[in-house]
Subunit: 190 residues, 2 copies
């Protein structure tokens, strides 16, 4: 039996993306974004939605470039700090000890400590109510050497990304592997 | 030290959304979508990206309505089956035993067995390379009675959603809570 929960932003899992930008003076900023996700395979694109009141919005409009750093469980409290403070009046890098690293392909900084960083060029801007969606073409992905396995593939259990639970305002960690994709379902089809 | 991993669709966690639609004969279909996420708070909107070759694309264009059902770990293999087979030649509901339930607010079916179902009306269509992004206004969310706590809030550990690891083609389950959002970071700001 289902209960109506109303017209609300419910989805699981929500990501914890740290969106990195420079302002027009090249001061780095990082903002937590849970409204986003991959939106195209070719070219590879990722979408992040930002309110116009945010410093990140101004930076995105000026530079048309951003990064997405994916924090691990180890960086949970520092990532959360980037979601509480505003880059307009707080230097989040000073406060958290995160290191801004200039991206190679775009004019934006990623967070050196995070295991994964995407370098993105804004390709489309879509107005959607309270938020503006910035679609970024992913020009490169930088991944920490230490999260790769011997076959050259990143390992989820080493990256240990966070998932955001909006309803309870909590972070969770995707844990155990529960099945093989494009495989586990074959028993229903044969 | 970071390694360049190239221009690829990397992000963690990726969702496992079952997008439900009817075709013009009201035959239900469900497709697995990992390219998507919430994209606006007001009105509440969710974006899902679909290739034009998919049956779901035809259905979305015809009906301008869809649901997003969020499968739990228990439904992993049946969800995976919906990602392997095509609705053009397979009745995924018959094969998986999933039950199509007509949504209340839109002309689309959600999956009765999944703990969470969003009812969405297509409000914008954005062309992005290989994929077309359908932005849906969330008109209602239906949630199983059994995943609520005593305060009337859904509990992540009862919903047990899946996360998709594209690189390894695996499903993982967000496990333990690791911190309180908008709280854990305060120690870096005071």
């Amino acid at each position: 039996m289902k209960r109506s929960f109303g017209a609300r932003t419910v989805a699981f899992p929500l990501p914890v993306f740290l969106v990195g930008t420079y302002d027009t003076n090249n001061k780095p900023d990082a903002m937590v974004v849970a409204w986003g996700g991959i939106c195209s395979s070719d070219p590879p694109c990722i979408a992040v939605s930002v309110r116009p009141s945010r410093q990140t919005y101004k930076n995105l409009m000026a530079k048309k470039a951003f990064t997405v750093s994916i924090p691990s469980v180890d960086q949970m409290s520092r990532a959360d700090a980037c979601g509480i403070a505003s880059g307009a009046d707080t230097d989040k890098f000073v406060r958290t000890g995160f290191t801004p690293v200039r991206a190679e392909k775009v004019d934006a900084p990623y967070i050196g400590e995070c295991p994964v960083g995407l370098e993105c060029r804004v390709s489309q801007i879509v107005e959607i109510g309270s938020h503006t969606q910035f679609i970024g073409e992913i020009l490169d992905v930088k991944i920490d050497e230490k999260v790769f396995d011997e076959e050259g593939k990143p390992v989820l259990s080493k990256i240990r990304p966070l998932a955001f639970d909006l309803i309870r305002s909590e972070y969770a960690a995707p844990g155990i592997v529960v099945g093989k994709a494009f495989c586990a379902g074959k028993k229903h089809l044969s």
